[in-house]
Amino acid sequence: MEKLFSNYMETVAILLFAIGFLILLFNRNLIKKIMGLNIMDSGMYLLLASLGYIDGRLAPVGGINQSSDPSLYINPIPAGLVLTGIVVSVSVTAIMLSLTVRLYKRYHTLNLDEIFKLIHQNEDEGN
């Protein structure tokens, strides 16, 4: 139990992942689902970046008089992976929001269950 408190960054990251996951699964509103997806991704990026942090060292930014001794800086690789992840998350959010707009204009509801009910009603009547 003390390990959960001494690694508080990772604990909060997993809690954010769980909160985002539950919002994605249980909320019926599409806009809230998309926000839950983003929160879930933020939790994962926090976990990844906290793997690279070393207590007491500086950011890996060099200048003219900075030394290139690697023991003065934190691990820079996880930061690069998080950048890729953030870009992917933005494009995914953009596509899902455009799908939501199209669905709302067609069915006038933001509730995914009702949309599928309307679709199956239309299919059973026509076709």
């Binding site: 509103n29 806009i31 950048l83 509801t109």
Partner: protein, 97 residues
């Protein structure tokens, strides 16, 4: 320093839980935008300035603007920034927990 970090993380958790429980769509987007901003400060505390710049531009900037444009296109907000609750007018409520 540790107390400052724990304070930021607690605000982040409160914002995340608030997104689930707020009923109004516009207010939920504003809460999400504020949690993105707090996240950007957390990146600075973790000594990654490139992540902080990206998160501030992307999370609190681009993504939130996309959400506002979506809400405008489905006509849930009008120009005076009041929320029109179209679904409540039709008699059934879609915003559930």
């Amino acid at each position: 320093m540790i107390i400052f970090k724990i304070f930021l993380l607690v605000i982040l958790l409160i914002c995340a839980i608030a997104v689930a429980f707020v009923k109004d769509n516009l207010a939920a987007v504003v809460v999400y935008m504020s949690s993105s901003t707090v996240m950007a400060v957390v990146w600075i505390v973790l000594e990654s300035p490139d992540l902080a710049i990206t998160e501030a531009a992307v999370g609190a900037g681009v993504t939130s603007v996309l959400f506002f444009v979506t809400l405008k296109k489905i006509q849930m907000i009008d120009v005076n920034l009041n929320t029109i609750d179209r679904d409540k007018k039709e008699g059934d409520s879609h915003e559930e927990k």
